[in-house]
């Protein structure tokens, strides 16, 4: 009999044939399974097609040329058909990002492209495009001000009793070497996220908060053409327009889940303050920025 591992992440209980050491082990009954197997060649009713992927509201198929094809259906099953000699880190890296995000979308949840920390049992999120420094700022705030960490790339918004809630993800962060340097973390013994990608996995086990939180604030990070750091509060409908751009894999899913997303995003933003951070690109502003954010968090 094949061995299965059971984990909790993003409010889900996942039973997996593949070991995913980044996730937290659980003993609860699973509602999502991940296994190896044969995947369909194409979707019968694809609503959108992209580069080597097809998607409908309940099914998703993506082929990563050199390592595996993934099939996700009904928000509860992931089947992986690996290529010969595929590296397990490569297979796992995409479970932890695109594949799990599609599971969340299919379940009608709202995965945001954010990292997150905890302040007084509420969630503070950092949104932004790839490479903007979401993970770095979350870890900096954790190291400097002891805020617990809840998520790296994806944070899930859901609802409970008509109120918005945030689920923690898992205690692992992906960091480039320059971020490790900024945070004064040695890369010694840190695993690479993929065989040929020079980005590291940093484990936040002891500083990780696992559970459900109410929303507190969301900071959207953008580059500033000017050489200074600015933080501006965003109000009204502009909040919605800005945060909507940071739904995880929004370009891939198009408008398939727009009703669910609209409802959850509105609920979330009714409870969370929203700020835009403008910071100069490629300049180490981490100390200044974390101190400014800390002051704002305490004033909200």
């Amino acid at each position: 009999m094949k061995k299965h591992y059971t984990y909790s992440a993003f409010g889900l209980i996942i039973s997996s044939e593949i070991e995913i050491p980044e996730f937290v082990i659980s003993k609860e009954k699973s509602n999502v399974t991940i296994c190896y197997g044969n995947v369909p060649k194409t979707l019968k009713k694809a609503e959108h097609e992209g580069f080597r992927y097809q998607i409908s509201k309940n099914e998703f198929l993506i082929k990563y040329s050199t390592w595996a094809t993934y099939f996700v259906c009904n928000g509860e099953k992931v089947i992986i058909q690996p290529e010969k000699n595929a590296d397990e880190r490569d297979i796992r890296a995409f479970i932890l990002s695109t594949v799990i995000a599609i599971v969340l979308h299919q379940r009608g949840l709202l995965p945001l492209h954010t990292s997150g920390i905890v302040y007084k049992n509420k969630g503070v999120l950092f949104a932004g495009n790839s490479g903007i420094g979401k993970s770095t700022i979350a870890i900096a705030l954790n190291k400097k001000y002891k805020y617990k960490f809840i998520s790296d790339d994806i944070t899930v918004i859901s609802e409970q009793n008509a109120a918005p809630i945030i689920y923690s993800s898992f205690p692992s962060v992906k960091l480039w070497q320059d971020s490790l340097d900024m945070l004064k973390i040695s890369n010694n013994k840190l695993p690479l996220i993929r065989k040929d990608v020079n980005k590291f996995r940093y484990n936040t086990n002891t500083d990780f908060y696992s559970g459900i939180l109410n929303p507190y604030a969301i900071f959207v990070i953008e580059n500033n053409v000017q050489n200074k750091v600015e933080i501006i509060e965003i109000k009204g409908v502009e909040k919605f327009n800005i945060v909507r751009n940071h739904i995880f894999r929004a370009k891939m899913i198009k408008e398939l889940y727009s009703n669910e997303h609209f409802k959850l995003l509105t609920l979330f933003l009714n409870s969370a303050k929203c700020y835009k951070i403008l910071r100069p690109k490629d300049v180490n502003t981490i100390n200044e920025l974390s101190s400014m954010i800390n002051k704002i968090i305490k004033k909200v």
Partner: protein
């Protein structure tokens, strides 16, 4: 599928941005000078943002070669958003993928304009751009395997671009037969911008309006761009370099380069230097 892509191709620091600003001003429907931080012409072929937007994928976890495989698909799709012309800037050498397939979307390509500048001047401007010594920029300009945006230490807004040596870059674009290429010398643009920009408009079969031409040349002049950069900053400037628009002259290598630097460049880049009138 539209056949509307026009490549604005060059080795770095050879007048590509100047032409983008000119075309943006010339094709602008209003009389106002275009914002250099919001140029609507010449998205770069190495933009991760465009690749991600058009594939739906997050490529920060992709290897360099995997990213290259996505570029053809992404830019073919992106080009569909434009009518007659989808101008894309590129510093990549014109190369196929390792598999032999096209990295450039050839089927959607109408033509290319290749900007060329004396490598003896390029190396000085390139040193400013890369914030390194001229010896280092000269070594890079002569390196047959040189790539830009290839740092593995940090996230880059652009994917790695193989630009090779200056001579191989020139040959890769000017000796290919996949689509027509107009070669424009930076020095000729400086000497007679009216004539060179007219040549570009004619090549692209865009009607020439002399008033618009003069106004676009004025609004894209080096001094004007330098002033705008000082006033508003320029988002395409690498953070390590102080000014994107630096000197913009031709022949100033004579006052700056050492004899050894000149000799090295001439010795190693002579084929294309001869062919395009720099020797």
């Amino acid at each position: 599928m539209k056949k509307n892509i026009v490549w604005l191709a060059s080795y770095p620091k050879s007048g590509n941005t100047w032409c983008r600003v000119f075309l943006s001003n010339y094709l602008n429907k209003t009389k106002e000078t275009v914002d250099i931080n919001n140029l609507q012409i010449g998205s770069i072929f190495s933009s991760k943002h465009i690749i991600e937007d058009n594939t739906g994928l997050d490529i920060s976890e992709y290897t360099e070669n995997e990213c290259d495989e996505l570029r053809n698909f992404a830019f073919t799709k992106w080009a569909e958003n434009f009518d007659d012309f989808a101008f894309f800037k590129t510093h990549d050498a014109y190369l196929p993928l390792d598999s032999g397939e096209n990295m450039f979307p050839v089927k959607s390509t109408k033509a290319a304009i290749y900007f060329i500048r004396n490598p003896l001047d390029v190396t000085i401007s390139f040193a400013n751009h890369l914030a390194c010594t001229i010896d280092k920029s000269t070594n890079r300009l002569c390196d047959k395997n040189f790539s830009i945006a290839a740092s593995k230490k940090k996230f880059n807004q652009q994917v790695r671009q193989k630009i090779l040596s200056w001579d191989l870059h020139v040959k890769s674009w000017t000796e290919q037969n996949d689509f027509p290429v107009l070669v424009i010398r930076y020095e000729d643009m400086l000497l007679n911008p009216q004539k060179e920009f007219k040549k570009i408009l004619k090549f692209l079969k865009i009607k020439t309006d002399n008033n618009k031409l003069n106004s676009a040349i004025k609004n894209s002049s080096f001094d004007k761009m330098k002033l705008l950069e000082k006033k508003t900053g320029f988002k395409e400037k690498p953070s390590s370099c102080k000014k994107f628009f630096n000197v913009g002259k031709s022949g100033y290598y004579k006052e700056i380069l050492s004899e050894n630097q000149i000799k090295k460049i001439i010795k190693e880049q002579k084929d294309s230097m001869k062919k395009f009138g720099y020797l």
